[in-house]
Amino acid sequence: MRNMIFLSLILVLVALGNCKEPDFFGYFEPQLMTFYSHKSDDWALLNSNKLRLDIEVKPGKKVKFGANVNFYNYYGTTAYNLLDYLSPEITAIAQPHEQYYEFAYKDSIELDNVYLRMSFQYADVTVGIQQISYGTGYAWNPTDIFNRKDVLDPTYEQPGHNAVRFDVPLNRNVSMMVIYAPGDNWNVPTALLRLKARLGRFDFSFCGTTTPWKQTFYPVLGYREEERILVGGDLVGQLMGLGVWIEGAYNHMQLTEDFWEMTAGLDYTLRNELYILGEIYYHSEASSSSDDYTLNDWMSYFSGLTRTIGQSQAYVFIQYPITDLIHISSSIIGCINDESVALVPQLNYSLFQDVELTVFGNLYMGNEGTMYSKDLGNGGQIRLRVYF
């Protein structure tokens, strides 16, 4: 795989040699993360270095080539077992196959984007690996079948997806997005159609998606693929001075239970620049009590297959610029059903023109077995980002 990526890079660079004014940019991001494990009664330290290298070139007025490569390097406590962070009731049934729950960060090279965008009179066509993000939710996007945001850091970049995308403006206020993502099999692709329109002070959209949905069942480690059909929509605008949004989706599953997800939120900036955002989330098939959480629920959550374990969640984000260079903020994420809360205080310091320092805390306060249980490992991160 690495050889393929390097070969692709060389081909891209050779191709760029024939084009004028390629732009190279990106960032370097060293990060130090520490967290406390109640099980081992010790602090773990995980360090990482990320180098994102972007290339953009416009061979013609209507053609754009874009790519970015992410280089990841990890050291410190890079391997751990997920069972160490779950309650004994949950882990008991997994014990015979403890090794299946081990996870390790490995040095890697990944492509988030390698795409060619061609702009025609009636459409933009983007072919290749590309970041795909849509939906009006801030922490959760029920209509987005491609990504699942990390609720502790929801604005972080999402990985790219191999796809062909068509953006078609139908008139001044209505546009259509069509995505075809072949995945592992050309016969069973992910396909999306999204219509977006403006009405007064509101933007709204409707979307339909079909995708092959893969699930692993724990602890038996059974594997199943079924068709998932998602029908949903979103709305964003302004009401009585507040920013408001709503996003929801109904999911028809070929073999398992159908479910629906919904998120709604609002935000406001006070005159003193204090910014406040609130959002709630609901998943119809998630458990309404922590007593019902299963190992399968936890593993689906850790692997990104589902956005929640508990049925209802709430998210609050507050940010204030204490100087022109320093912003302080905090996220408070709560699972309403099991009354667990996680607090993510954050300080962002713009050290120099293109150098940013961010200090996060990850403070889980819930009881054992809850979604934001303190067993998940309280800790924090220091992230430095140097843009070039």
């Binding site: 604005t155 403006p169 002070r201 605008g237 006070l270 610029p321 260079l325």
Partner: protein
């Protein structure tokens, strides 16, 4: 051709001293609005912030405007951190969309987002945005004429209208009588109408394609003594901007 004729007519009319003396505050502000919000504009701007640490930070962006400021698009070229990010403002900044290049995400923002400072500068998005704010959000009253650095100026006090969402209680504007360019603008606190928050000075006025253009603007914050300077690197008023530029598709380009 029609635009040039209008500019010549307007200049002759503006230079007529007898008529000019009779102008009311509203009429002066309307003229300022016309000068500051031409039919179309494409510009490259540099913003330099002197931070609280004493360091100078430079931001370069492209700015596109159409329909006398009704449509605006701004796209960052520098610094690297913001490169490719953009903001689309329609309906005189009532509708705002922000584009984040690194995540390829477009987010619609409510009007309150205009209260935030532009990249830690002394300009808020509100100061930058809505083209017709002086006319729509404030009631104008002409005060006694004064000179600013030897230049004869109209002085107009703009008081926030009752149902307006403007972020200042009042503004005082010194307008060059010869070309209707505001040379100085004082901003007063929303709650305390006597508290001056900051002031803007405009200078290096050049007539470009028939339109008097202040090429340098400096916003000084009187409370913390910080300063932000903005310069026009290049500007073109005769550009033909397609409406498609002022869409989400245009924002992503």
């Amino acid at each position: 051709m029609r635009q040039k004729t209008a500019i010549i007519f307007f200049t002759l009319w503006a230079l007529s001293p007898t008529l000019a003396q009779e102008l009311t505050g509203d009429q002066i502000i309307e003229r300022v609005d016309e000068i500051m919000n031409p039919q179309q504009m494409q510009a490259e701007m540099t913003m330099i912030i002197e931070t609280s640490s004493g360091e100078l930070r430079e931001f370069v962006y492209q700015s596109y405007s159409k329909n006398h400021g009704e449509k605006n698009l701004m796209r960052y070229l520098k610094p690297s951190k913001l490169r490719g990010n953009g903001t689309l403002m329609l309906n005189y900044s009532d509708d705002i969309w922000a584009y984040f290049h690194k995540t390829k995400r477009v987010r619609k923002l409510a009007e309150h987002a205009k209260r935030q400072k532009m990249e830690g500068s002394d300009f808020s998005y509100e100061d930058m945005g809505s083209g017709n704010a002086f006319v729509m959000d404030y009631a104008a009253e002409r005060l006694e004429d004064e000179k600013v650095e030897g230049i004869d100026c109209y002085v107009v006090e703009l008081t926030r209208k009752e149902n307006s969402d403007a972020g200042y209680s009042r503004l005082i504007m010194w307008v060059d009588k010869s070309n209707f360019v505001p040379l100085m603008l004082d901003y007063y606190d929303l709650k305390d109408a006597e508290l001056k928050l900051k002031y803007l000075t405009m200078s290096d006025v050049e007539v470009i394609q028939g339109i008097p253009t202040p090429k340098r603007m400096v916003m000084t914050n009187t409370l913390d003594n910080s300063q932000t300077m903005m310069e026009i690197n290049s500007v073109n008023y005769e550009v033909d901007l397609d409406d498609n530029l002022f869409t989400e598709r245009g924002l992503r380009e």
